[in-house]
Symmetry: C2
Subunit: 161 residues, 2 copies
């Protein structure tokens, strides 16, 4: 089981994307935790990511700005909760940097990476406050969007890292 025991996804509330990718987990980790390596793939095209800020420690900032094809920008700010290099990254937008309760909490995200042959078992879990949060995220296209992001990530790693 990939998930840490403290995380118990509830199918009514949460969403999970699992993929086997043919790139090593050390590069997936690096791509997820280095702004310059994250900008190119973090949003499903034709959306783009215009800014990423990372302070990679519990309570440290994780901020991103996504831009729609029409040029509208959507900033998101939160903080990391757990940072286990090459294995597990947990962050939330329910807390701002320094663990300050946030005005508009939406989800906690858990990324877990395990070796799988020469590649990586990649599991991304989105944990929501309630069923409405899960439904909204589904309607925003969680499976397709997060899936496309994995494709873009793998393509980027193969070409550029």
């Amino acid at each position: 089981m990939t998930l840490p025991s403290i995380i118990k996804p509830d199918p009514k509330l949460d969403l999970v994307l699992e993929r086997i990718v043919d790139v090593p987990r050390e590069l997936v980790w690096k791509a997820w935790t280095t702004p310059k390596h994250m900008l190119p793939w973090f949003c499903p095209k034709p959306w783009t990511t215009t800014d990423i800020e990372i302070d990679l420690r519990p309570g440290g900032i994780f901020r991103s700005v996504m831009r729609s094809p029409e040029g509208q920008e959507y900033p998101n700010i939160g903080c990391y909760l757990e940072v286990v290099p090459n294995e597990r990254l947990i962050w939330t937008d329910a807390l701002l940097p320094g663990y300050r309760p946030a005005p508009e909490p939406f989800m906690t995200a858990v990324l877990t990476l395990e070796p799988s042959g020469k590649g990586t078992r990649y599991v991304a879990t989105a944990i929501h406050r309630d069923e409405a949060g899960r439904k909204k995220h589904e309607e925003m296209g969680f499976q397709e969007g997060w899936g496309t992001v994995v494709d873009q990530l793998v393509e980027y790693i193969k070409k550029e890292m």
Copy 2:
């Protein structure tokens, strides 16, 4: 400086109680992290604490139930964020156990303990979402309430531990 560098209290938003107490920090830590040692002092009398649940690890539950003199019960549930034995305990009600975003976030609390002579420098910091949160907590009697709790804690340690 007692606080970890990730915590930056803002006087407009946050509240801090600092005391030097003449009991060793190992006992303060034990009293703060063991339900049977916590029940007797956690609420300013004549309020009482009727239940405490502790899973002492990041993401683990911290749940308490306070009872008013009239018999009304007030449950509070959250999770730990950082657990550094004898030094630092951070928890929040912005996240439920397993880091699930909570329906009614109010604060993150930071308890830091440092040796001070034969006693302990005890600093409790309450971090709120906004100015309204800080004001509400002030009006609930933060300084007096949290101060009384320290007195009760010290008295309990001296008598019972």
